[in-house]
Symmetry: C2
Subunit: 598 residues, 2 copies
């Protein structure tokens, strides 16, 4: 895939198109995190493979903007690409819009493809450049012209996601959504995010790596649902089911056209963050547009009882795969040559032995020593490291199962860890534990809880540059809002944490050039007591896998923390051991044995 | 003052003015928290004396909206006023705008006085009523017509606030503001908040109770400053000083007129939250309006070195006054009859013995037993309670000194406290301590720290309905942003906490019908270490007064907390004892003696 474009050739195309500057984000017409290779333009253009970036080019400048997770990786991958990492040239800058504001020349003609720009980003750009008197060409798809060997759009076959997995039939979901549409006084609801649509229609597919999605749009009315999709992707039996519910299939390409025919007098609910400029502009000017988070996004964030039961089940399966992996690793390391890529392969293979497994929920991060300092490092054949005799190994992986989605990080020591490594690990562990055992009144937001995972690190002058937790989908996106746990700059952190929400808990320490340590479990929000001061909530830790005791400095843990870790380990053994061989059981017994302070 | 208006008479006036509904907030043309009695309309109309309320009246409805701090008080004071407490009729509702949205009749003609409505509130109302097709009459001052014995506007004489107190001359401040105006590309800056103007011009006055303010507006340009004020309030020597800096005085009433003459081509920086609709509308339509927090608000939130030195000095004075008070209280209670109002009186008298004292910084809250459950209870002759033999006494008070502003709450037990009272007190104390000892990286916002003060309470199923901490001015408003520490619904909680900011730390428990417990200290943000992960900050607790050990259940404190309390008490004794009599010293020695776990 890595075929750097010739920058001067690209600039010639800018000139032909009468464009001074071109902006391109790493996304697709559904504005998702994962998308078909057809839309993997930035890796093809620049060599940078991180999941989040924006590219900006003029006749004299070629830069790439990404977030702090990818700084080290981007520096490495952009070498000799002709692109500079904007962030590293302006280290104090935290907002790309600020950079645009400072650096775009007045009167510029700016081009971009309105199909892959959300209306909310477009507005931010307009605001940032308000005083520059720039003009926009929003129908500027320069890529199709030049990317001759561009991958075709995928055509995976959709399948029915059964109620035994997801707990609620599509008819019931549709009724719920329509009920809430009435409350918001909206006639139509446009769904653009693929996870929203998969959830609503109880279908899954494999158009996209890591997320079981089918590429389509949906327009919901009170009587009818229009599904814009390539008909070949919908098998006959599903099409029949859809027909019963008055779900009408139309070609994918007709979405804009259909939106432009909506009556002047009607109102439509759209989500600015996932609605492209092109779709937005196709809605007639006088149609009343209501902007809000989508109704399916809100509904599916609250897992139902069937889903919660299934989540507990997949956590056992996932934990069994991980335990088998770590057992194998400990036995094999030394006799076999194990590299980061082997680890990734082996983990996938062990998960694949579990029932209802679909594939990894994201690209496995297996990071040895200094690779771990790059929070989202992905091993490639070029970077692949062999696991040596001494060091820190960070493994962040997850699976898609028909009965849910997992995401878990464990960091282990190979050989004898240093005192600093133990201190760092233990302070990260304190964070994981303290967030997991939070008790809080209903109404609390993720931004309020974030510090629980950071406090022990801050006390040592440590910190990590990413959020603490993201929402997790159900056999859908591994990063799925609206909820999250973070310092509060994004909107997700101001979402109230509700009973039934699933969130990750992943504090970390990254020491550049040395190693990275992260411990991640998934938390399910459940009810605690109700008092005169309100309904209180807490979390159940649902991820099941032992935590490396050889990296714990027990003197840094208080009694509470020790006891919590011990009871977690007891639970891990209890749940996983029935599914392990005798050797693995013995091994896990030791790994989960009681830790006691001296 | 309490002279309820006849509701039917008021409704007749609505009719005469062709108004269906009238809205009136508790504020003045400067949109401040404290204001001259001239603007105390809501107490005069309804009897409710809380500092924050909005009143809404139609021909069939008369309601008052306030916030949770005042629910109990409002229920009590509104009895037989004809007004209902809106909040208690709609208990789930947290936003007045939502209530308006639900309850205002379509096509209503709504009247209010644009001089006492901020443009930001006006916009919220417009948004809430967008679909109702209502019309607004924004020049509707119904009150002047009917309030015959309305207090006149005050005319206190301004005085020079010396650089030995405030650390920076007015010329330097003006230059700093102009520099920042250039960076924001603004030609003019309108100052409407009185604390902003007092800070900029280094003047103080006594137009307003509790805050040393002079009523005026200021318009800053790069060459000239226009000060809209009653000239009689500016003594000759100050006027001469102003003249040297090209500060030109104009009549207060001419502010709107002058704004309407600004050139079309100029830009003006205003703060929507403190700029009235009338002032806003007087700016010509084509003048470019830049909306942001005011520059003085940002600058004065960071206390300079002289101010910080002075803050430490006044904390000694304030602590001495408080210690003398509590000593007196313990000796007198039993022999003298002590009531809530006596306490308020006595405290003011003891503070007045200290150098540079101007008066209380807010109305003293002295609350015995169930009165304390109302977070902002103010004793009145009607409610005044005599302090009995057994119970909980909460005292929240503060002083204005030329060298700073204080705000401190202590809760003490009279007689033997119950186990529940000790548990509640100790959990509140844990909150006060844990926030005070936070260490956090630069960039952290108040919303992230809030939970540190609540965590111990949440673990017991307890909570409090107000923020944890507010910013504090310097010989200015006791509540002064932009910073605060809270759950994050307001904008203040998303302000980054900077070195030099002064904030309160006041967790609490309120048990309706029983008692209230609150412990409040002021915290000054100072630098901690700088590591590869950034600059870290921490707080110094600057308030100095012992904490009632008889209310502490030591089994609920960990070693860290005990040690922190002990070192705080050692500091209190060290700083205050030189200024006490021998008897008082002996008393304080016992009160601050080391607490040790068994």
């Amino acid at each position: 895939m890595k075929k750097f474009i010739n920058l001067s050739a690209f600039r010639a195309i800018l000139k032909t198109n009468n464009i001074d500057a071109y902006i391109l984000p790493s996304t697709d017409p559904h504005l998702g995190e994962y998308f078909p290779d057809h839309w993997s333009i930035i890796p093809w253009l620049t060599g940078f493979t991180g999941s989040s970036a924006t590219f900006f080019i003029t006749d004299s400048y070629a830069g790439l903007w990404t977030d702090s997770r990818y700084f080290i990786q981007a520096e490495e991958q952009l070498k000799s690409s002709g692109f500079v990492l904007i962030n590293s040239v302006y280290p104090g800058l935290t907002d790309f819009m600020e950079w645009l504001h400072e650096n775009v020349k007045p009167e510029s003609k700016i081009g971009f493809n309105g199909r892959t720009f959300s209306i909310s980003i477009m507005r931010k750009i307009e605001k940032a450049l308000k005083e520059k008197n720039v003009s926009f060409n929003i129908e500027c798809d320069l890529i199709s012209e030049i990317w001759t060997e561009r991958p075709l759009m995928p055509l995976s076959i959709a399948f029915d996601h059964l109620v035994e997995f997801c707990g609620k039939g599509r008819e019931e979901k549709i009724n719920e959504v329509r009920e809430l549409m009435k409350r918001q006084s909206t006639d139509y609801h446009l769904l653009t995010a693929l996870d929203d649509i998969m959830w609503l229609l109880n279908i899954r597919g494999s158009d996209v790596k890591f997320s079981p999605l089918v590429t389509c749009f949906v327009l919901i009315g009170q009587e009818q649902i229009l599904l814009f999709v390539d008909e070949r992707q919908i098998p006959f039996r599903l099409a029949m089911e859809f027909d019963k519910l008055n779900i009408v299939m139309l070609p994918y390409e007709e979405t804009e056209g259909m939106l432009s025919t909506l009556s002047y007098r009607k109102s439509i609910l759209i989500t600015p963050a996932t609605t492209s400029v092109s779709l937005y502009n196709s809605i007639r000017k006088r149609t009343k547009i209501i902007e809000d988070i989508s109704i399916p996004t809100r509904l599916k964030a609250i897992k139902n009882k069937v889903e919660i039961n299934n989540i507990w089940k997949i956590m056992v399966k996932d934990g069994v795969a991980l335990t088998k992996f770590f057992y194998w690793f400990e036995k094999s390391h030394g006799s076999l040559v194990v590299s980061e890529l082997t680890i990734s392969e082996k983990l996938n293979q062990l998960r694949a032995e579990q029932e209802n497994y679909l594939g990894p929920s994201f690209s496995t991060i297996a990071a040895w020593n200094e690779h771990g300092a790059s929070p989202h490092y992905l091993p490639t054949p070029e970077s692949d490291s062999v696991i040596g005799a001494m060091g820190i190994l960070l493994i962040d992986s997850g699976g898609q199962y028909l009965d849910g989605t997992t995401d878990i990080t464990r960091t282990i020591a190979v050989g004898q860890p240093t005192e600093q490594q133990k201190r760092d690990f233990t302070n990260v562990l304190k964070g994981t534990i303290n967030l997991a055992f939070a008790k809080f009144p209903h109404g609390t937001k993720g931004s309020q809880l974030d510090i629980l995972a950071r406090k022990a690190l801050w006390e040592q002058g440590l910190n990590y540059g990413h959020g603490t937790g993201h929402g997790v989908g159900f056999c859908l996106n591994v990063h799925e809002g609206p909820q999250n746990i973070g310092p509060g700059s994004g909107s997700g952190s101001s979402t109230v944490i509700e009973r039934g929400m699933l969130l990750s808990d992943e504090p970390a320490v990254y020491r550049e050039g040395e190693y990275g340590i992260r411990i991640e479990n998934l938390l399910l929000c459940v009810e605690d007591e109700e008092t005169e001061f309100g309904q209180f909530l807490k979390f159940d830790t649902v991820s099941l896998c032992n935590i490396d005791k050889s990296l714990i400095d027990i003197n840094l843990l208080n009694q509470n923390e020790i006891q919590r870790l011990n009871s977690y380990h007891a639970l891990v053994f209890e749940k996983l051991s029935p599914h392990l061989t005798e050797d693995e059981q013995r091994w896990l017994k030791t790994k989960t044995g009681t830790l006691s302070s001296i």
